[in-house]
């Protein structure tokens, strides 16, 4: 296990990148703490797979260095880095038995057969596949195959980090929970450094200690699930995390007041000297539909998703979403929305501004 340091790292798939737009991964400095579980979250094409492949050594970055415990491995081949990777589609060696699959990385490294047998049994127990060790990997279900790839990654004791590239994409929903829980448990028991790439916020938020949100080739925020929810540093984080995402309204902010479409709302802090595109961000959870408080809205429709209701409404020409708890009544006379000032975030040019 190791601490992984990204130093001035950037990557472009073009041989001669001209501007920042040519970079799939923009300049990045970051330490992945030893033994922590990270999720790398972002929409498709934001550079998260590129970053993962650079860490695993399948890709050499155009610039910058990558260090494992302070040792430069930027140009070291994959095999030397001692990392394990689980891919989106389960990769198993079809013609081998489950046992041989698990033993493969150890045998390739010339470990003695007695050690291999011991480790394979240990790992099989860990991933719950002891009873099918002698079956051919071909014909197993997708989640069994994915467990094998995970097991193949962990069979090496000295593995520096476990990387996951959207590993649950092809798994049935009910198995997703089980595998994810198993992953968390494995992390808890063995303390590998884990980096988990996904575009599914639920996966990211339940799996990781820290979530790294990427947008357009850039890391926009690194934080705990709670931080991402309460204080999104970038409008993308606000919009991407949450279901539905944060409401963003154009605003003119002066002091402790913000003028947004439909009226003026109070702010908890004092904001001064804002420039550029100023927006007010408020999560649907922190809006309240009322009869006599706040700004007037027109309700388009109400979606009942079980645990709560999502109210799709219109605030002076802008779509906003409001979440009403299950036990909260929504009556026809409720034509106003109240904003909780404590939960408001203010953004200038998409980045969060702290109150003065």
């Amino acid at each position: 296990m190791a601490k992984i340091t990204l130093d001035n790292l950037a990557h472009s798939y073009l041989p001669q990148p001209k501007g920042p737009d040519d970079f799939a991964l923009k300049e990045l400095n970051h330490d992945w703490e030893d033994g922590a579980a990270y999720a790398l979250l972002g929409s498709s094409g934001c550079g998260k797979s590129t970053l993962l492949n650079i860490i695993s050594g399948l890709l050499v970055p155009s610039q910058g260095r990558i260090l494992f415990d302070g040792v430069d491995v930027t140009h070291a081949p994959t095999a030397e880095r001692n990392i394990a990777q689980v891919f989106q589609f389960p990769v198993v060696y079809d013609t081998m038995t489950v046992r041989d699959n698990l033993a493969f990385p150890l045998r390739n490294r010339g470990r003695p057969e007695s050690y291999v047998a011991e480790r394979v049994n240990e790992i099989a127990r860990m991933i719950g596949m002891e009873h099918m060790l002698d079956r051919k990997a071909r014909g197993l279900t997708a989640d069994a195959k994915q467990k094998i790839s995970l097991g193949r990654g962990m069979v090496r004791k000295d593995v520096n980090a476990l990387l996951f590239d959207e590993p649950l994409t092809v798994i049935d929903p009910h198995m997703k929970w089980e595998l994810r829980t198993q992953l968390k448990k494995l992390h808890h028991d063995f303390g590998h450094t884990m980096i988990y790439v996904t575009h599914d916020q639920t996966e990211a938020l339940t799996f990781a200690d820290k979530v790294v949100v990427m947008y357009d080739g850039r890391v926009v925020q690194i934080g705990t699930p709670e931080e991402l929810f309460d204080r999104p540093e970038h409008t993308f984080v606000g919009y991407f995390i949450g279901s539905p995402g944060m409401n963003l309204l154009p605003a003119e902010v002066s002091g402790r007041e913000a003028r947004i479409p439909g009226g003026v709302t109070a702010l908890a802090g004092d904001y001064r000297g804002l420039s550029g595109k100023v927006q007010l961000g408020i999560r649907p959870e922190h809006l309240r539909l009322t009869a006599d408080e706040g700004l007037p809205v027109t309700i388009h429709r109400i979606e009942d998703v079980g645990r709560h209701r999502i109210i799709r409404a219109d605030l002076a020409g802008h779509d906003i979403n409001i979440i009403a708890a299950e036990d909260q009544a929504v009556t026809p006379d409720m034509g106003r929305v109240a904003i909780d000032p404590l939960r408001v975030n203010i953004y200038a040019d998409d980045w969060r501004v702290a109150a003065a």
């Binding site: 492949n53 399948l58 994959t78 990769v91 060696y93 013609t95």
Partner: protein, 288 residues
Amino acid sequence: MEKTVNHKAWFLVLPVLVLVAFSAVIPLMTVVNYAFQDTFGNNVFFWHGLGWFEELLASDRMWNALWRQLAFSGIILAIEIPLGVLVALNMPKRGVWASVVLVLMSLPLLIPWNVVGTIWQIFGRVDIGLLGYTLNSLGISYNYTQNPAHAWATVIVMDVWHWTSLVALLAYAGLQSIPDAYYQAAKIDQASRWKVFRYIELPKMAGVLMIAVLLRFMDSFMIYTEPFVVTGGGPGNATTFLSIDLVKMALGQFDLGPAAAFSLMYFLVILLISWVFYTVMTNLDKRG
């Protein structure tokens, strides 16, 4: 569920039956007819039973042709399959060159059989052929019209030249279907090149290779045009394969009875061997 019985439905199938009978069954039956009877012309037939079959099986002629045929098919399979795989492994996977190579590889497959024969017939000639003349100028005695070994070598090289592309293209298609993740996982697992081939590429190619082996076996087992054009079955009977022998018998000697019996046995042998190939290979596939 109770089925409705309606015998008129048979009339709907009738056109197909007539068509198949006309195009396949009746021609085949005339061959069967000749195989079990003898005639002195004028459409007067005498029952001969298994006479022609016994006569053929007792003579060396068909057996020799069969052994030659098996040897030929065996050798070209042993060369074309590994060579085709090797070529496919070295073909570029993407980019402009992938398309260029694909087109180049398909070229031999587009040339008509007798043209291939003619190309090699001339190419190998000692007096004017580039290959024959060059070899002899280098002091290597080579003459496919006189030396049986040279005739065999020429016919085999010609077949390899003509058909390895097919195997390569099929294998290439199999290789292209392997996701990159497999190669990346193999790198992470520190698998050697050989193991990547043995455990990733070969299993993924197995299906198409099975088709390649079957196709190449059936095709080579029925080969006629190319050796006929190049060697005419000679020198002597050295390259007289089953088809060539059959044509000699049927058209050269006009022995229609034995030729018909020959045809039927030929057909059964191909059917049998193909079936064995298929069964063995699908079982291998299942056991994985």
